[in-house]
């Protein structure tokens, strides 16, 4: 063969796989209309594509594909122990999409899913039905955006807007939408809803540049947070995961000082602190796919199937970041996991 040439990856979402069952769903049509040049491929079930054997997550990240599907069976789950419930008794989460348009080195999705491709479940009405059933039994606190970043995808599929429209006026239902995006403008036309919490994950600029590929810079996130607060939305700040690396003290100090120089502390709903933690099997898979990553190969310790920093380091991180946050927030507004 002749010499190696440079190659270009096909743009992401060059191919859209559509389940036969949802090909005429209004959300499917709306999404497809945004990608007129994409190759559309009909499939029977999203797992035919998403769960193929031997897929390479790192390779697929060069050109992610979109899969449009209907989620069957149960769609709302009890909140996992590794996640913060923020004092809510009935903590649930749901995954309207699988995977994310960003690519953070530490993201557990890289170990959880067999594929980097993005699945969007368009049957949002079935999600609403299940929430209705739960609400008949008890109030519900529901996290929407753990296994994806819904707000980052709002211009591809307006799921956040639909959820906000659905929860508006439902006093027994609170939803959290977690994001690293700078896409607040996709919601800014909506009146704020008191039972919707927009939760921004914040990291030092050094972390964003090194480990949070494709995500917006800190300044843009802060600007978005400020706009959301000024418009009357409830905003949560998530310092999670806090990473341990050279000079971390300094970088997190700068982050929190900068954050509260832009955002008024008294207007923050609450904040959370969590160190990097990941289930054993996910880390094992990530180590196979991404052989040289400072984050993935850190010598974590395992406790109850979860890998995290050694206790001493964990305590030091949490203690320090908590101290930084206490300069601005009362203790009842700071949640630690």
């Amino acid at each position: 063969m002749k010499e190696l040439k440079k190659f270009s990856a096909v743009r992401s979402f060059s191919h859209i796989y559509v389940e036969e069952e949802v090909k005429d769903h209004p959300l499917t049509l709306e999404i497809l209309s945004k990608f007129p040049k994409a190759v559309k491929i009909q499939i029977n079930h999203y797992k035919e594509v998403f769960c193929r054997p031997k897929q390479n997550f790192a390779v697929q990240e060069m050109s992610k594909k979109l899969i449009l599907a209907a989620k069957k069976g149960r769609v709302i789950y009890s909140g996992p122990e590794v996640c913060q419930d923020f004092g809510n008794k009935n903590f649930y989460y749901t995954s309207p999409a699988l995977n994310c348009i960003y690519s953070c080195d530490y993201c557990y999705l890289k170990g959880m899913y067999p594929s980097a491709n993005l699945v969007i479940f368009v049957n949002i009405e079935d999600y609403f039905k299940e929430v209705e059933n739960l609400l008949k039994q008890r109030p519900v606190y529901l996290s929407l955006s753990y296994d994806t970043d819904l707000l980052a995808m709002e211009r591809i599929v307006p799921l956040v807007s639909r959820w906000i429209a659905y929860v508006r006026g439902k006093e027994d239902l609170t939803i959290e939408i977690r994001t690293k995006s700078a896409n607040y403008s996709a919601l800014s036309h909506l009146p704020p809803a008191g039972n919707v919490i927009l939760a921004w994950t914040l990291s030092p600029s050094e972390v964003i540049e090194r480990y949070e590929r494709k995500t917006p810079p800190l300044e843009l996130r802060l600007e978005n947070i400020k706009r959301a607060i000024d418009d009357g939305w409830k905003v949560r700040l998530c310092f999670d995961p806090v990473l341990y690396f050279e000079n971390w003290h300094l970088f997190y100090d700068n982050l929190i000082t900068r954050t509260f120089s832009v955002v008024s502390p008294e207007k923050i709903n609450d904040a959370s602190i969590g160190v990097f933690r990941i289930p054993r099997d996910y880390l094992k898979r990530m180590r196979k796919t991404f052989p040289f990553s400072e984050i993935i190969y850190y010598p974590y310790v395992e406790k109850d199937g979860i890998y995290t920093y050694p206790e001493k380091i964990k305590e030091e991180i949490i203690g320090y970041v908590h101290l930084l946050l206490r300069r601005y927030l009362p203790p009842e507004k700071i949640f630690i996991i």
């Binding site: 190659f7 191919h15 031997k54 594909k65």
Partner: protein
């Protein structure tokens, strides 16, 4: 290495000439041709033959992480949107008999048309065949090839490349014309192969041979257990992620030989300290 599976010699011939492949003179069920970075097998007609030849080729040459496999051959197109001589990169492959479907990952840019390939176990004539044909193009090998190749390689390293020969109207297959049509598309095929190789090179590789060798020596000399050796490898990767190259101090441990496991543990603790820096 690129592995290529063709059904007939007329399909293989232009590829053999283009890449300067030599016939492997070894008694075996399939005709195999090998060059510097390409190995080709002629499977014969049909799904099972293609599956058998694919399995043979990938096993015989011990296909691994750096390899890719292509099925190159002619096909029939269902309608006139595909012209005779068009080359198609198949993005979905259907086995007509089992209804199983296969999807290659199309990651690199290419200059081919894309379509759905449906593999039948019998020749299809559009006029005579009573049921609907789901694929855009039709062949008799692709699904067998793909399903088998999936046992060996990831979906971004398996592709079916089909050149349109007819429009399912039972046109007589002329070997010379088959070779000519495929020969004309080889520069495009080579471009795709080159892009796949470049993509391969960009994906982070694990420890290189030299590093693995050094770790093997250290592990053996210090009488490290399997778990400790794994820990050592993890710490080396952690170190490499931060410093790009191994610490010189680690090489010194290759010259140390311990007489007991306990002694080895003492050295291991020192290595861990170095690699965590």
């Amino acid at each position: 290495m690129f592995f290529i599976v063709t059904a007939f010699h007329a399909e293989a011939k232009p590829i053999i000439e283009y890449f300067g492949l030599k016939k492997v003179m070894k008694p075996c069920r399939f005709q195999v041709f090998v060059g510097e970075s390409v190995a080709l097998v002629e499977s014969g007609l049909g799904i099972v033959a293609s599956a058998a030849a694919t399995s043979f080729l990938l096993t015989e040459f011990e296909a691994g992480a750096k390899d890719a496999v292509l099925n190159i051959g002619i096909c029939g197109a269902k309608d006139s949107s595909f012209k005779k001589g068009d080359i198609i990169l198949c993005h979905k492959i259907i086995n007509h008999d089992t209804k199983r479907t296969f999807y290659p990952d199309i990651i690199v840019e290419h200059k081919m048309k894309e379509a759905v390939l449906e593999t039948f176990s019998f020749p299809v004539n559009k006029e005579e065949y009573p049921c609907s044909i789901e694929g855009d193009v039709v062949d008799m090998e692709g699904a067998g090839f793909f399903e088998t190749a999936s046992f060996f390689l990831p979906p971004h390293k398996i592709h079916c490349l089909k050149v349109v020969y007819d429009h399912l109207d039972s046109e007589k297959v002329e070997p010379a014309l088959v070779s000519e049509l495929i020969r004309g598309k080889l520069p495009l095929i080579e471009q795709l192969m080159s892009s796949i190789s470049s993509m391969n090179a960009r994906v982070s590789e694990d420890l290189i041979e030299k590093e693995s060798e050094l770790l093997g020596i250290v592990s053996q000399n210090l009488k490290l257990s399997f778990t400790m050796t794994q820990q050592l490898k993890h710490l080396v990767r952690y170190y490499l992620a931060r410093h790009r190259k191994l610490p010189e101090a680690l090489r010194d441990f290759a010259n140390v030989k311990v007489s007991s496991k306990n002694e080895g543990k003492v050295y291991f603790e020192r290595i861990k300290e170095i690699l965590r820096r």
